[in-house]
């Protein structure tokens, strides 16, 4: 049985969507047991009782706009998110899932679970779907704003393991996000990272990848610093959103376009389905001693149940042991 610690209170639609997501997951996967952290009364309103769900009552919820999660962690450890993370630390669960604030999850992961020996930085690692439904791993997407080239090598090694174990890619190609395809492009750190990635036997290095080729190039993993990764991801999301809004506006501007829009409804649905980040369920916080999945703050029950699936599969694949071995090998070379 896989034991998953789940924060019922984090997220814009908590606890209702989180608990409904748990209901969905419990029905779907008979090999999981869920330890649900949050307000017992609230949880019981929506929970379908199951012998595989246990509630751990907590009194505090980490605000989605929390400014100083380190202070919160130190002053009051009764937060549902931190208690759930602690549950993994204490060996009572195999993985943890939260929809709470990202920086809270990064802080909780780093200070409670601690960094993996040898890794200097923690990274946020989302899966970016293209319009064909193919996933690419991007990291760091925002845990650290400052970086050193060797951090990107650590990230590349961990993400390659995730790609192999979770996406079953045999020899995942790693690309370095850069402003030009040729070697020698980018900042001093990028040029140094290029050499590190190229020369490391644990990595199948593809070379530089420009953001405009991100969704069409044949890479499985994209590494960069947290500032750049965040800019990349949010530019991409912003462009897709603006384009969608423009299409909707045009559709409503004429009868002909409205008819066209109706006929294209399924086509648009197909695109949305393939590129739907809710299918992923969440980003992995990598570099820490435990499996921590951060679901989107706006997750609904469907998205959250996919977050549970992701946490479950990472635990089943025993991803932590593989990561530990690889990082040790990397730093003993």
């Amino acid at each position: 049985m896989i034991r998953l610690a789940v924060d019922a209170m984090g997220g814009d639609h908590a606890p209702i969507e989180m608990v409904k997501g748990v209901n969905l997951a419990i029905e779907k996967f008979d090999d999981i047991e869920i330890h649900l952290f949050g307000d017992e009364n609230e949880i019981n309103k929506y929970l379908t009782p199951s012998p595989r769900v246990k509630i751990f009552h907590t009194t505090h919820v980490l605000d989605m706009g929390v400014e100083d999660p380190i202070k919160e962690l130190r002053s009051n450890p009764e937060y549902s998110m931190f208690k759930a993370i602690k549950h993994v630390k204490d060996g009572n669960a195999d993985a943890v899932l939260t929809s709470g604030p990202t920086q809270g999850a990064v802080v909780g992961g780093t200070l409670i679970l601690r960094r993996i020996k040898g890794m200097k930085r923690v990274a946020i690692c989302p899966f970016i779907p293209d319009f064909e439904g193919r996933m690419r791993i991007l990291l760091d997407s925002g845990a650290n704003v400052e970086f050193r080239p060797e951090h990107l090598l650590d990230f590349a090694v961990v993400a390659s393991i995730i790609s192999k174990s979770y996406f079953k890619v045999e020899n995942p190609k790693v690309g370095l996000v850069n402003i030009g395809a040729e070697p020698g492009k980018g900042r001093a750190e990028d040029i140094e990272a290029y050499e590190l990635l190229k020369n490391n036997p644990q990595i199948n290095f593809y070379g530089n990848v420009e953001p405009k080729e991100m969704l069409t190039s044949d890479v499985d993993v994209l590494v960069t610093d947290g500032f750049t990764g965040n800019i990349l991801m949010k530019s991409y999301e912003g462009a897709v959103k603006a384009f969608s809004d423009a299409i909707k506006k045009e559709v409503y501007s004429s009868f002909k376009a409205k008819m066209g829009g109706l006929l294209m409804k399924n086509a648009f649905k197909n695109i949305k389905r393939k590129a739907n980040p809710d299918v992923v369920g969440g980003a992995i916080i990598v570099g820490i001693e435990g499996i921590l999945v951060k679901a989107h703050g706006s997750s609904d029950a469907f998205a959250f149940s996919n977050g549970i699936r992701l946490a479950r599969e990472l635990a089943k694949e025993d991803i932590m042991s593989k990561v530990r071995v690889a990082i040790e090998a990397l730093h003993n070379e």
Copy 2:
């Protein structure tokens, strides 16, 4: 009469599209005189003779993939692009336009025209159209990969002048590209730049702008370093391209969607027209002692003629004098 130096040989479709663009512009604007740099025989194949067009024969073309433009500039100054830039330096033209390689234009601008006194960095400054046709100025979009906070202040001042003079925005709002909206977000340099921008009386500072809000927020100017600006712009372009391709693919996948696509043809055309970067004509290389417009490498005659229009209007507005005054005021504060 406004005198424009034009590189006929730079660009993927040179010289044919460049010369045709000149033909269009000469017909459209009766207050311009064009000094065309390139292979005389080639140019004459496509040029509609006009007393307002003079050809300056050159022997060399800067390759679009040029690796070391500084070396090229030093070893052989007979390149059409560099000769056209030199023409401005010598006081024989009021502005220069090229579709040649961007780094060539940056190098030529910096080494031939020289930086404006007080400005430490040159920036590439494109206009980014949203889907409503509204333009926002983004800089730096790739001239420099390393930066200091004070460079962003210089950029903000220059871009504000362009916004006022060219787009007739009375009090242009300047946003700082960042990974969060709240003050205190980003790298050490961003946090410092935030304070500089906030406290400077020449700037109407809006605050941080996340890339996902870039196209909807009420800013006129977006400043960041060249690495981030380039990532932002190319992520945006890549996402729009991938989304468009996905729609096209879906349209061809079923009869119903094909009919829908036909009915929506005008709607898609409207969107494309509004968000068409060809309408802009080019990016401005700012920070140098002269007006240098870099048209897209893939420019056709229409786009290139808009580049001529942009160069013409910047010259008419006497943008250089305004920039000089503002930069001097900034550094004498």
